[in-house]
């Protein structure tokens, strides 16, 4: 429990990490930027050519993510959140615009193994036990066995799954499986974590718990996280920047910067600051919908 639970005022929190927070134009490169860009997208568009004609998944998206950011994408189903993440991960090619990841093209970033991707489903390999599932990326990257064991151990501990090494995926609950997939994405220590609705299929209680764990992990490791969610509370609780998207074609309609203390806990969701941001996100989503009609 944070000792100063209710007395927290976000305005009081020191601005040490974000000297450019007051800059309203988030897309333009701020002069005083001190943190390197992890993702930089300019007028990005993506159209899927399907049998029923083109599907405009992304349209004219500008986005900047700086090192250490926790950015959440929120928007109605089918608005292109997954697509955006897949473009960053070089799993999908944009039809227009340009994008860099860690200063290079997404393809090169993928070759550098710059990011860990957590899919909407755990996507564990059922014939591998938990230990070997987490070790999979390390095996592929040719990490020696001893080092592999050590990394797997420490990352399973990180997601509170020590002792489950020899279990197979089907012996674990959905929430545990998702934590395994997070450990798997973290274990080769990428600086960028892409998470696509990782907790979407979980019940509220487990989700809350994992949210708290993830927040702590982020605060501890200083990784950059790009997070997709449907849940307003989740987005507001976790992020320092919330990107609100409109329905198809996916456009960014609002970007909300928050400045909450990093040691916030679940009770923080009762505070006025939290509710205010949540309200703004909801307004943004609503505006996006009316645009669609």
């Amino acid at each position: 429990m944070a000792p100063d639970g209710k007395g927290l005022a976000p305005q009081e929190s020191p601005d040490r990490e974000s000297p450019d927070r007051e800059s309203p134009d988030w897309a333009a490169a701020p002069e005083g930027a001190t943190r390197p860009r992890v993702v930089e997208a300019r007028s990005l568009s993506l159209t899927f050519e399907t049998a029923d004609g083109p599907v405009y998944a992304l349209s004219d998206v500008d986005l900047d993510v700086e090192r250490g950011d926790f950015v959440s994408f929120i928007g109605p189903s089918g608005c292109g959140k997954t697509t955006m993440l897949r473009v960053i991960a070089d799993l999908e090619q944009p039809s227009e615009g340009r994008i860099t990841v860690n200063g290079v093209s997404p393809h090169e970033a993928r070759l550098n193994r710059d990011y860990g991707y957590v899919f909407q489903a755990p996507a564990l390999y059922p014939w591998r036990n938990i230990e070997r599932n987490v070790a999979l990326p390390l095996e592929i990257m040719g990490v020696p066995a001893a080092e592999r064991r050590e990394k797997v151990r420490s990352h399973l501990e990180l997601v509170n799954l020590a002792g489950f090494e020899k279990k197979f995926p089907w012996q674990l609950s959905g929430g545990m499986q998702q934590r395994v997939s997070i450990a798997r994405a973290l274990c080769f220590e990428p600086n960028l974590l892409l998470m696509d609705e990782p907790f979407g299929a979980l019940d509220e209680i487990v989700r809350d718990h994992l949210n708290e764990q993830l927040l702590r992990l982020w605060a501890k490791t200083g990784k950059t996280v790009i997070f997709v969610t449907h849940s307003i509370p989740e987005a507001v609780f976790l992020s320092n920047r919330i990107v609100v998207m409109s329905p198809r074609p996916g456009r960014i309609i609002d970007v909300i910067e928050t400045d909450f203390p990093t040691d916030r806990d679940l009770d923080f969701r009762e505070t006025a600051d939290f509710l205010e941001v949540a309200h703004r996100v909801r307004e943004g989503l609503r505006a996006g919908h009316s645009y669609d009609d």
């Binding site: 799993l91 070759l111 996507a123 014939w127 999979l136 990326p137 592929i140 990257m141």
Partner: protein, 307 residues
């Protein structure tokens, strides 16, 4: 130790309960019904010939005589189960294995080409499937051939294979094995194409995010996910591999093998010999399928895949 005393009967009654609840009872019932029907069929089918025989001999016969005689003919239309069993006992247990009359000897001849053909066919099937899954052009060009190969009746193509291979000096084991191969590569190819394509898109995307090589994707993802498909195919493949070997023995007038026994039996109207060869082949096939099943269980259990 009361617990010991109590646990023993509990254990055996548990076994009994398992038998009753499990497959043993239904299997026993079905077998009994089949055997009864078989005896009735044998009596019915063999009766006309037997009556002829009685009349030719001019003996007086009762109904009981007739039934007894129909089940003891030397060349019955349909031999009774006990006649087949007696013949099998004679040719399997009582005859030396080295003898030409030993069914064990004949079974081994057929089995060896079955296994050789099965091994080659499986390897070929896996190889073709791997190519088809990885190369779009192979998928387009090869798949139609693979499928149309199986539309030709094996009975039509078997003699040609035997003759052609005989002309280039290949005789005996190899032509028969090739016929087995021809039959059994098909289910393996089809099953493995499906199996190697069974990983879902997410599992494949995961490999892409790790920037895994094609080789790594194959060994760490495609191959393990295809295992259940492989074993399902192998069960079919081994059974039809045996069919292939037997069919391969028919057109050659082979001296040895279950097919040769069938052929010789039908030349001389030795129905009991035919049937005992057939039953032996069936038992052989069942054993091999069961063996593949054991292998399947071992492999899948090691892979942690529940059954």
């Amino acid at each position: 130790m009361t617990t010991d005393v109590l646990s023993a009967p509990a254990g055996s009654s548990g076994l009994w309960a398992r038998l009753v609840a499990g497959r043993a009872l239904p299997i026993a019932v079905v077998s009994a019904v089949v055997i009864v029907l078989w005896y009735l069929g044998a009596i019915w089918l063999n009766t006309p010939l037997q009556i002829d025989a009685f009349e030719r001999q001019g003996v007086a016969w009762s109904r009981a005589d007739l039934v007894r005689a129909t089940l003891a003919q030397e060349r019955p239309l349909l031999p009774a189960p006990h006649q087949i069993l007696a013949e099998m006992k004679k040719t399997i247990i009582d005859t030396r294995i080295t003898s030409k009359r030993s069914l064990v000897h004949h079974s081994w001849v057929t089995l060896s080409s079955t296994l050789l053909g099965f091994a080659i066919g499986t390897a070929l099937g896996v190889l073709l499937a791997t190519g088809i899954v990885h190369l779009r052009t192979l998928d387009k060009s090869l798949m139609p051939w693979v499928i149309s190969s199986q539309t030709i009746p094996i009975l039509a193509i078997a003699p040609m294979i035997v003759v052609v291979l005989g002309a280039i000096g290949l005789k005996g084991l190899v032509p028969k094995a090739i016929i087995s191969t021809y039959l059994c590569f098909f289910p393996v190819t089809i099953g493995m194409v499906k199996g190697l394509r069974s990983p879902d898109p997410l599992q494949l995307d995961l490999m892409r995010t790790y920037c895994a090589s094609g080789w790594q994707t194959f060994w760490k993802l495609r191959w393990p996910s295809s295992m259940p498909f492989l074993f399902a195919s192998l069960k079919v493949a081994i059974a039809i591999s045996l069919v292939g070997a037997i069919v391969g023995e028919l057109p050659t007038g082979a001296q040895a093998g279950l097919g040769a026994r069938l052929l010789a039996g039908s030349y001389y109207g030795q129905t009991i010999q035919i049937w005992s060869a057939l039953i032996t082949a069936a038992i052989l096939a069942a054993c091999m399928v069961a063996l593949v099943g054991v292998g399947e269980r071992l492999v899948l259990r090691r892979m942690g895949l529940r059954r």
